[in-house]
Structure formats: structure tokens, C-alpha cells
């Protein structure tokens, strides 16, 4: 257990990027659902950060509480296994107009 954890942290890398919300209606139920579902495909910890608030990107309820609107800037941060791939998949979705 201890050993596994060590190996994990060695391979762990934090990826972070700032994005502008592209959905016309902001992170509403439907765009948020699409993004949350995508986030769930990755094993790493993924957070969205807006102003001082950090939420779990795999939680619809938490993502909705960000109240992120079209044109708002948020930071996406992925930490752990496949963090780079998570970022590569989520950034375009956040920037796209999903409705």
C-alpha cells in the first residue's frame, strides 16, 4: 500500500490551465452535465477554480454552484493519473459553446 502510494506520487503531475467558458448560457445543467461526464472518464483528481472557489469537476452539484457564466474565466487543475489527457479533453469542451 505504502509503496504504491509512493510510486503514484512520483508519477503525479499537476496540470493547470485557464479557460474562458464558451457556452452561451454558462455552465448550466446541460453543458455542465456533458463536462462532468467527461471528467468522470479520468482517474485523476480534477478541480475547477473560479475566483476563490474550488470544486470537484466530477460533481454536477458542485460545478453548478460555481455559477460560471459565458465569458467567465475558470482554472482547470488535474492532478494524478492521466492528468494531461484529462486537461486535453476538458479544455476544448469548456471553451466550446455547448448551449
Amino acid at each position: 500500500m505504502q509503496k504504491e502510494h509512493l510510486i503514484m506520487s512520483m508519477s503525479e503531475q499537476v496540470f493547470e490551465q485557464s479557460v474562458i467558458i464558451g457556452s452561451k448560457s454558462g455552465l448550466h445543467a446541460r453543458p455542465a452535465s456533458i463536462i462532468v461526464q467527461k471528467a468522470k472518464e479520468f482517474p485523476c483528481q480534477i478541480d475547477f477554480i473560479k475566483a476563490a472557489k474550488t470544486v470537484n469537476a466530477k460533481s454536477l452539484l458542485a460545478v453548478l454552484t460555481l455559477g460560471a457564466e459565458n465569458g467567465d474565466q475558470i482554472i482547470i487543475r488535474a492532478n494524478g493519473e492521466k492528468a494531461d489527457q484529462a486537461l486535453a479533453a476538458l479544455v476544448p469542451l469548456l471553451e466550446e459553446n455547448l448551449g
Binding site: L61, T65, G67
Partner: protein, 540 residues
Amino acid sequence: MKTLQGIPAVTGIALGVAHVIKPLAPITAATQRTCEEEIARLTAALNSGKAQLATLQATMTGETAEIIATQHEILDDPELYEQSLALIQTGISAEAAVTQVIDQFAQQLASLPDPYLAARADDARAAGRRIIAELQGITQSLQFQEDVILIAQDLSPAEVAERDLSHVQAIVTEEGAATGHLAIVAQGWGIPTIVGMAGIMASIENGQTLVVDGEYGTVTIDPDEATRTVTHTRLAHLQQQQKEALQYRDRPGMTADRVPVAVLANIGSLADARKAVEMGAEGVGLFRTEFLAANGIPSEDAQVAYYTEIAKVMPLPITIRTFDIGGDKPVPGLNIPPEGNPFLGWRGIRLGLDRPEEILLPQLRAILRAATVGNFQIMLPMVVAPQEATQTRALLDQALSQLEREGKPARRVLLGIMVETPAAALTLDHFRGLIDFASIGTNDLVQYTFAVDRTNPRVQARAQPLGLATLRLLAQISNSGIPISICGQLAADPQAIPLLVGLGIRKLSVAPASIPKVKQLLASQTLEEMQAKIWQALRA
């Protein structure tokens, strides 16, 4: 065969099969089970709920499908699960844990400025109820393959919204008042509804055949052959009538001799606004804003956004009634003390003027801002004296100068009052110069005139909506020199319409589903015939 009596809320008849929505048991935090057992219960409830929703989602389209998809996503939410687990580990029940977590999220969502996101608080609460129902072994049906008559303890607007109403023939609830939220929503959709039917939950089981008579407020359980035959005949007759009325939908309202009488809609939500447009409304005569405040007074920005959305759907004039909130409809965060007699209590404009910074001023500012996009006018509820209009005018001026200083675009709008107290009815001429229009709320006016609590079925028959007392008040109101419209239930009553038009009233505001019928009735008589009716009634 057995017949039960309730309070008629939406007229119409249905013959069909009962679907009983079992109420949730009260939630207690204390539990006899171990943490592990509670966690296992929660996991099982979430899985079962998700499985049901997935099946349902596959068969649905449009808005309902989206509501269901959101519900599914919430049941699958890792934060909801993790936070509930942490709470269960403090020794409380799964039900209490889920309720706490959902409440926290719902409160955060409700406080967001964006009205769509704020409305997701209802989605969160609906998901919470679903999980609790699963934990208690109750299955909630949201969609029906065949026609059903819904029987419930009570239904909140959210519980109605998440259901597919296309197969709902009628709604009967044990609790509720004729003027409650459910009644108003069902009226907009034209679904026969009876509320306040004591004993219905204990008397009916799933699958029993019922006749629901929304006109008289009766439910007949296991009707005999004769009753069924009569009901079939009445149904066929009603359907024929509806078909005929629909031909009047897109014409402007007018009497047989072509005197224009505008037929407007009473709405409470965006869905109602769409229905109003679909049914041929010539504007909105009453936009009840209380629904917006179901989870607390929304922020000014949230109100601006919501009013703007309504205006986009309905380009014609919209009369917004300021929050008619009181002790009978508790609003979270307002701390209105419970009252022995909330209908005579601290409500409507009284509450708004006494607590302007929290309630009235943000709403006035929001309406003035939204008026740059929509054709809005403001109407005040529960007015008894001219100084209430004067005070509101001062607040309006204050709001306008504030907005100008802040550089926020706004537009001055017309101001009117509801005439729903005998005091306002008898002294309306003293409001001249202070208000631009008045609208008669007949439900409350009748209740206050006859001293009959409209939520109490025992005394209901003593109120006479078309009694001489009401007619004399209506005559007095129509002589005030102020433009008058009507937005109570009388405006859709075939007996009342000729009397109202005969008195000179040229605007009737009714539930969206009633609009074609009202236009049809108007077109059946000349103004002269209507005037003769009211003079005869007043001489009586």
C-alpha cells in the same frame, strides 16, 4: 361506489385509473443500524434510483428528458456520495445525511444570481426526495405509459414540473387550497384538479377506477355502470365544447357587436407564459411572482434575468404583481412570524413597504431594469389605502434615481393596484392621480366581503361571488374613473363575464387554458344584452 368531496380547483371531468403517490415518512437522524448498514442502504438506494432514471430517460424527449438526465447525474454525484458517507460516519441515518448534503447544495444554488442556475436548487431537492423515497422503499413514477389520475398528499411545483403530464387526466390531493401553487399550475394546463380532499389517501389504492369531477370537487370511487355512462356522455360533450372554443383562440376578444374586450393571461412561470402565447393571450394581466420566491427572495439580477426571459416569450404588455407573500406561504430567509390569521396579516404590500430594502425595492428596481426590454407594468397586492400607493411611488422614484446614478438602464412603468379588499373597492376614486390602473382580484375580494375563508370547505358555500354585495362593490369600482381589469376566477366564469363587461370592464385576465372559452363566450352576446343583465342583477 363511494363519493368523496374536496375543494374544486380546476374544472373538468376525468374517468380513469388511480395512481397514488405515497408520501415520504418523516426523517429522523437517529438510527439503530450500524454505519456500514446505513452506507449499504445509501449505495443500494442510489443504484436503484439511477437504474430507474436510466430506463426512463431512454423513453423521453425534450425538456422532461433533460430534467431526468440532470436527476440521474445528481444521483451519480461523487460529492453527494462522499459528503453523505462522512455524515453517516458521525452516526446519523442515511436519510438525514442525504437531506443535509442536498440542503447545503440547494441553498448555495438558490443564492446564485443566474435564475436558471438558482432553479437547479429545485432539481437538487427533487433528487433528494427521490433518494429518500428509495431509502424508504417507495417508488416514484414520473412518466406514465397510460392515462392516470394522480392522487397525492400534496404536490409541489417542482414535483409537477419533473413529471410528464401528457398522460395525467386529473389530479386529486389530500391537502392544498384552491388558490395554492398546484391549483394554479394545473389551471394553466387545463388539468381537472381537486385539492383538500380529506381521506383520499386512505380511501384509494393504485389501479382503482375513479370519476373525478373538477367542477363540483367530487371523486367517485369504483363508479357503477350508470355513473360511467353519464360520465362518458359528459366527457364527449366537454371535448366537443373545447374543440369549438379553440376556433376563437387566435381572434381578438370582442362582444357579438364587436366591442373589444381584451382577454389576457394569468401566469406564474415561463412555462405559463409559453402556454399563454399558445392559447392566444392578448397580454398578461397578472404575473404572480411568488413562485420565484419559493426558495427565498431572488436577487435583483436574478429577477431582471427572469422577467427578461418572460418578456422574450410574451411581447405584449405584462402586469407584474409584486411579491404577495405572507404568513400562509413561508419564504425561506424572511422569518415572517406565524400568524393566527395570515389572510388578514402582514402580507403583500404591507410586508413589502415595511421591509423595503429586502423585498420591495430590489423587485421594483428589477422590473424597471427589465422594462427596457419588455412591456411591463407594476401592480401592488393587498392595498387598502391611497398612502400605500404614494409610498410605493416614492420607492419607485428612489429606485429610478439609484439606477440612473449607477448607470443601469431603466424605464419608468405604469403603476396599478389589486382591488381585493372592500376598503380599496369602496375608496378607489381616492386613488385617482396616484395609480394608472386597477385590477380586481375577485377571489380575495369575495373572501373579505363575505368573511369566508376561501381555504375552509365548511364555509365555502356562504360566499357568493355573484351575490348583490359583490356586484355592488364591482359597480362602485367601475365608477372610479380608473381603468379596470379583472384577474380573479370570476373573469373566466360564464355567468360573470356578461355582468363584468356590462359594467364597463374591458380587460379579463384568466388561466391560459381558459382563454379560447372566454373569447367564445364574449362573442356570443352583444354589449347591450350584457348591460341589461347587470342592471337587472343590480336591481334585484
